[in-house]
Amino acid sequence: MLMTTRYFGERIKRNEDPRLLTGNGTFIDDLRPAGVVHAAFLRSPHAHARITRIDTAQAAQLPGVIAVYTRAQLPEAISGPLPKLIGHPALVHHKTQYALAPEKVRLVGEPVALVIAESRYVAEDALDLIEVDYDPLPPVVDLEAAARDGSPLVHEDIGTNICAHHTQRVGNVEEAFAHATHVFSERFVIDRGTAAPMECRGVVAVWDGKVRELTVWDTTQAPIRIRNYLSQLLGLPQNDIRVVAPDIGGGFGPKIMMCYPEEVLVPWAAMQLGRPVKWIEDRRENFAAMNHEREQIHDASIAVDADGRILGVKTVFLYDSGAYIPYGIIVPIVASTTLVGPYRIPNYHCEFKAVFTNKTIVSPYRGAGRPHGVFVMERLMDRVARELGLDRVEVRRRNFIQPDEFPYDTGLIYQDNAPLIYDSGNYPAVLEKAVELIGYAEWPDLKARYRREGRVVGLGIACYVEGSGIGPYEGCRVTVEPNGRVYAATSVGTQGQGHYTAFAQIIADALAVDVEDVIVTTGDSGAFGWGTGTFASRAGVVAGNAVHLAAQAVRAKAIKVAATALEAREEDLELADARVFVRGSPDRSITLAQLAVTANPLRGTIPEGWEQPGLEASRFFAPPRGTFPMGVHAALVEVDVRTGLVTFLRYLVVHDCGKVINPLILDGQIRGGVAQGIGNCFYEKLVYDEGGQLLTQTFMDYLLPTTAEVPDVEIAHLETPTPMNPLGVKGAGEAGVIPVPAVFAQALDDALADFGFRIREMPLNPSRLREMLRAAGQPADGRRAAAAR
């Protein structure tokens, strides 16, 4: 009997690892086209200022400098505001960034001039020789102040800093609040952070004037969309532009923007000069010029009955968009629609204002509003538990949507403009698993023991539902070549998610080949020209199902072609070991390699039923709406009240993202997300001063978690398949990061209950925690600090 390994669901080592481990990856800075010249950008040192003069004469004369550009030299198509990405009726002032600053700069780091030189060193020398006179304007920095009447304006022409005001309502929250036994209100503040991928951004562009073909390598998460915008901005047909997202050193969201100024200017300069141009962002630039996230201020309330059952929830919040809002209001929509989580909330009111400030642009970063929504909701649930004297797990249990209620319509409209309908899930099972694994029943005893040992330790446990796998579509082409190998091309880019392996697993199963014989190409518009991008935990779901459909189509084609070759009936044929054979007669078989040749004959005819020549098929997957994984995280956190330092003693994730393609990769996604979540809670914070200067522009000031801070993450999975796609998979890219602030805050409250304060802000850090402890005073503060000395 022929045996074939099944790969789906298996812990397969990654196909891409050998080249990455040996330094054989191709990252953007590894590309060195012949004759390449180097770009560097002069960036605004002011948050808000009028440019009164730019003099580039001296810079242009420096030996080795090839060109210096300011906005005055740019053609009309790229001298105005760059494209508006995602519109919304509520987004009334959709202001977008400029390739090079117009008459005024609106944030520190905004590009003002571009230098092209023989080396990056010389290009940076030339930046120092450009003279710019600025007339500083009052900076708009504080989010609340920016939203008030009379604030200085980031964009004078619109007469306000508020660019969007959006409300969604379910039921009647006022009535629910009026009749509720209890109503609790809180203010929650979440500050800025940055994705800080280990590789900064970069663009390399080559223009071949003879054949009029532009090739652009770009650290983007959306190469097809970049190609399409370049086509529009540079006046070339899409077909003459190839955009390749090579190996990318982490994306996490902000590498999807159409278009960053550099993504337009570098290709344009290459066309102007007829020479390849390369720009590699340095870390300092990355801090100021790559989009940020996270800043929101929520005023939230919850109404419950005497048993802690939710009657209504309301949040009114401010969203800091930074100086422009190209990406639209996706982040606040995601925040306000994620907030409702796994709970039955009959009445809900969410309302936000998106506000311009003189700070870096905000666009989605891993979580993309989800951590905010979950933080607000879970903090409200904790408040209910505390005020009503209920167990915090029991309060959640009581309010869960039950397994028989799916599909569950929340009544909201999600970020994809589709109804927010939870497709499937088993929330109580996930929670009970977490309760069991973290030892919740034994926690009071354990806590008492820690206390006796003089240790301050708290437990946190929080729930969330994650929107994933939204449309519009992705596609894939699968080809069996005469060498017997299978080649697949999809345009979603890869930033470490293991697509070369996960997609290969799906294909290997369909065609009964070895997973290492499936070669996947991602993120190359020249290999596959249709697609959306890698974001919103969607590549595995949307592209993964397109891969599945294409592979199944090739399988069907292989059987069809083999039926003729073997003179057998299609229904009698099976695939195994890279061959099609007649069931029961394994010696009557033909290899896929032979079929690939047979399917592309030199003479004769192609049967009508073959659809196309070759053992090849392209398929698209276009889900009508997203699919919704759910999870519960729990942690034990120890606080050193003398120093304000915290230690994660345990971290547990119980997660249900439907069918699992590769547990190795899935667990990696979750662990990495938790690490970023821990950073979001306690180490990472972007700090602006009153003048709008970004004070945190190095890894000495902006602290990323290291091996010393990130604990082992314990992970358990439940698998509730989704009916939304043939593979039954849900997304998992953001599962790790979403509830970490909520878990951390609850654990701190638990640990520090004696001090009588509750956490309402994120991120914290040792000094801020010490500040809170000092303000709270006794018991531990003075006494223990003194004892320690």
Binding site: G23, D29, Y121, P197, M198, F699, T706, T707
Partner: protein
């Protein structure tokens, strides 16, 4: 004395030294090159020698992506000038395994999914090589302490 004075005068006239010739051993092979004195070692390795396995993550010595071995010791190649490595023995990630024949440490990273995007990985592996050379059987605590200087944004260090 006289000779020295003449040399300094000539140098003053000619302006500061901007280029220098260096000779070093990289991954076992002797290399000689004339470089700008301000060129960092990592730029020299990547641009002049084409060894692009060593990556540049922060250029201020925190992230560790550019970690190489200099005379057997793990260092940040973004914090050194190429001229400072004159006469040194250097090992980069290219000195370890090949895609078909991974170094045992590289194999271990693969086995345990110790990499995702792979950008910090060469630096991480070189730090690990350095650790194993010093302590052939480190415990978890030692591994965590040793790798503290290599930031990874993808894996959570598992």
């Amino acid at each position: 004395m006289t000779h020295g004075t003449a040399t300094s005068r000539r140098r003053r006239k000619a302006g500061p030294v901007t280029r220098a010739t260096i000779t070093l051993r990289v991954n076992g092979a002797e290399r000689t090159a004339t470089v700008e004195v301000r060129k960092t070692l990592v730029d020299f390795l990547r641009e002049d020698l084409g060894l692009t396995g060593t990556h540049v993550g922060c250029e201020h010595g925190v992230c560790g992506a550019c970690t190489i071995l200099l005379n057997g010791e793990a260092v940040r190649s973004c914090l050194l000038f190429a001229v400072q490595a004159d006469g040194a023995e250097i090992a980069t990630v290219e000195s370890l395994g090949t895609p078909d024949r991974l170094h045992p440490l590289q194999e271990a990273f693969r086995e345990h999914h110790g990499l995702q995007c792979g950008f910090c990985t060469p630096g991480m592996v070189m730090s690990a090589v350095d650790l194993c050379a010093r302590r052939p059987s480190p415990d978890e605590r030692e591994v965590r302490e040793w790798l503290e200087g290599n930031i990874c944004r993808c894996t959570g260090y598992h």
